[in-house]
Amino acid sequence: MSADRREDTTERQRGRPAAAGRGATEGISADRREDTTERQRGRPAAAGRGATTGTSRSPGTTHLEVVARVAPELIERLGRVLRHRGALVERLTFEACASEAVLHADVRCAAPVEVIVAQLERLPDVHSVRAS
């Protein structure tokens, strides 16, 4: 985890976005071990949990965890709501299994985060949204 943190800081300093995918992947693999039981119950691993703990989050960002029914366009739907309602995504991980998907995002938003959460919760496929 601390290795991830160092990596990300360097990339950030180069003016590039943190390598969300890479950090996330490493995070997920850690989670995968932990989450075997959840997976066996038919839920995807909480992908971003690993991603978040595994990497630094810049101050002023909010972490969102969205659990939703799987649909091919799910990422687009969630991403569109985030963009349109004024949240800037700094980091994103997503994992889907047969029935459920989990999206983790670090976002920076001008609007109060409750507004973004409420908008995400309106999406018919979304089961739950948590902000932290």
Binding site: E73, A118, P124, D125
Partner: protein
């Protein structure tokens, strides 16, 4: 045992249904009697299934007309409106109508044909990513590539369109899915699943379906206390009351508490005319008395409204001394623009009766009554020309009870909101959130087909009418007796007025002195018409319009320079209304 057997028999009979035939079956099952659409290659199987179906198909002359007719149908009845289109350009033409339905929370199901599954993603002929297009203009949408998914998706689409906060749902169906047989086991599973509340069993979003909205008793008590303590309360009523069918409960609350009321354009008709202290519409072009009362209020009870910018003006200065009780079925609306002191999320029909408390507001009622008298509309006007507000008043007084009024967008729309009164909110159908020019005529088509026994009047402008003028052909095709009142100022009047007021009278592209002869255009479509331009022709013109047994277009020339008042300038407070205030 009997149930199971009959279910099995039904299912066996249905097993031979194709996807297209199944869609038609579901339409009938959902109580849909009329659908609006336009055929094309990718939706031909569905049109074939409609050929000898009981569901009536109405051919509009543009897919936007179909979508807006579905909106008119839904808004004038409360039923789900259904529209159909083919892939590619058919689907793109629906988009404005869907956006209109989204912004005004109208239950619509749109079914589009998509190229066959193997071709999706190949840039095939008339292939557009319709699901992608739909994301920003629907409540939800689906692409069906496997016929096994079709029954579930259609059931969800109707359920979603009408539940919670209603809205448009699009179902894009690949052509091969329309042609494929629906497997028996899928229909059997559906028959079993129908024994359960579908949304819940699918674990879907409670907010989207309006589920699990348990009202906190403490919030109700807090709201009651705020109302009891208020000395200057106002009920600010929006379209949510109409969607929730809560007009009776609203009227009862207003009567019992005596609280002065004002509505948005979408809720016009929710309060009885002449009853209590109803101040009409508020906002940018609202009644001065309504705006002034809201600005002086110490409590706003917001019922199914959303503090839209056309209502609030500068939100920071809106009702500055008021606390807010906000009632809505959509939790996302509460606190979005204006912080609520008490939020009540749920079904308005259940919530409103619980707010009846004894109030102590007589001095306020007197003050509001004075405001209403002081700022009542005046219809005297110099000159021989026709003054649009006076003409609309004439129409309002003469039209039969339960007339449905649809409008287009512009000055004429706001004049209609100000001067035409209806007794039921489903009788006033105007494009509120999207402000869609071209709305009026197709919405009137839908309203007339949905309510054949009622008079339907479309109030339009010379700019707006041209946006869906082709729907005159739909009036003719189905013999629809829609009455069109066309207020012609040879201008894009609303924009011209803003250019005059805020852009130094630089009239950029708002002059329409090359309009066609509208009566001749109507005649070409088999619609009768008459032109009037003098005030002494108003009574006769309106009488002829309403008396004509078939469709009629009354073409009314009005002054190009006439402005709409009052007007709250953009960014200003509702206290700072411009114009010739009475």
């Amino acid at each position: 045992m009997t149930t199971v057997q009959s279910r099995t028999t039904t299912t066996e009979a249905q097993a031979v249904r194709t996807g297209a035939q199944w869609i038609v079956d579901v339409l009938a099952e959902q109580g849909v009697t009329t659908v609006y659409g336009y055929p094309g290659g990718a939706i031909m199987p569905l049109y074939d299934a409609l050929y000898d179906a009981d569901v009536r198909h109405v051919l509009t002359r543009h897919e936007q007309g179909a979508a807006l007719a579905a909106v008119g149908h839904a808004r004038s009845t409360g039923q789900v409106g259904v529209c159909l289109a083919t892939s590619g350009p058919g689907a793109t033409n629906l988009v404005t109508g869907l956006a209109d339905a989204l912004l005004d929370s109208v239950p619509v199901v749109a079914i589009t044909g998509q190229v066959a599954s193997p071709l999706i993603g190949t840039d095939a002929f008339q292939e557009v990513d319709v699901l992608g297009l739909s994301l920003a203009c629907t409540k939800h949408s689906y692409l069906v590539r496997d016929v096994r998914d079709l029954p579930r998706v259609l059931d969800e689409a109707f359920e979603l369109a009408r539940s919670g906060r209603p809205g448009p749902v699009l179902v894009d169906v690949a052509k091969d899915v329309q042609l494929a047989p629906v497997p028996a086991d899928v229909l059997m599973a559906r028959a079993d699943a129908n024994d359960h509340p579908t949304a819940q069993t699918r674990g879907a979003s409670p907010a989207a379906y309006g589920l699990g909205l348990e009202v906190d008793e403490q919030d109700v008590a807090a709201a009651r206390e705020l109302i009891r303590m208020a000395r200057r309360p106002v009920l600010y009523v929006g379209g949510g009351v109409v969607s929730a069918d809560a007009t009776a409960e609203l009227r009862a609350l207003a009567r019992a508490t005596g609280i002065p009321t004002t509505t948005t354009a979408k809720a016009l008709g929710a309060l009885e005319r002449g009853a209590g202290l109803h101040l009409g519409m508020l906002g940018m072009h609202g009644n001065a008395a309504a705006n002034l009362a809201v600005q002086q209020a110490d409590l706003i009870v917001c019922v199914g409204a959303r503090f839209d910018d056309r209502v609030t003006g500068n939100p920071a200065t809106f009702a500055p001394g008021a606390r807010v009780v906000h009632l809505d079925v959509d939790p996302a609306e509460v606190g979005k623009v204006r912080r609520a002191d008490v939020r009540l999320i749920g079904d308005l029909r259940e919530l409103l009766p619980r707010l009846t408390v004894e109030t102590d507001i007589e001095p306020w009622r007197t003050r509001v009554g004075e405001l209403a008298r002081q700022h009542g509309w005046r219809y005297d006007h110099p000159g021989e020309g026709i003054y649009a507000p006076a003409l609309l008043r004439e129409l309002s007084e003469r039209m039969p009870a339960r007339t449905v009024v649809t409008t287009d967008v512009g000055q004429h729309q706001m004049w209609a909101c100000q001067h035409v009164e209806v007794d039921h909110p489903r009788d006033f159908v105007t494009s509120g959130g999207l402000g869609t020019m071209g709305f009026g005529l197709p919405a009137a088509v839908g309203a007339q087909l949905a309510r054949p026994g009622d008079t339907v009047v479309c109030i339009s402008g010379d700019g707006s009418i041209m946006m869906n003028i082709q729907e005159l052909a739909t009036l003719r095709r189905y013999g629809l007796p829609v009455k069109i009142l066309l207020l012609d100022n040879q201008r894009l009047g609303m924009v011209r007025q803003w250019q005059e007021l805020f852009f130094e009278a630089r009239y950029s592209e708002t002059t329409l002195d090359d309009n066609p002869d509208f009566v001749a255009v109507a005649a070409a479509f088999g619609v009768a018409g008459r032109h009037i331009s003098r005030r002494d022709e108003v009574a006769g013109g309106v009488a002829e319009l309403l008396a004509c047994p078939g469709a009629f277009l009354l073409h009314v020339s009005i002054d190009a320079q006439e402005n709409l008042w009052p007007l709250v300038p953009p960014g200003a407070s509702n206290s700072d209304m411009m114009g010739e205030l009475p």
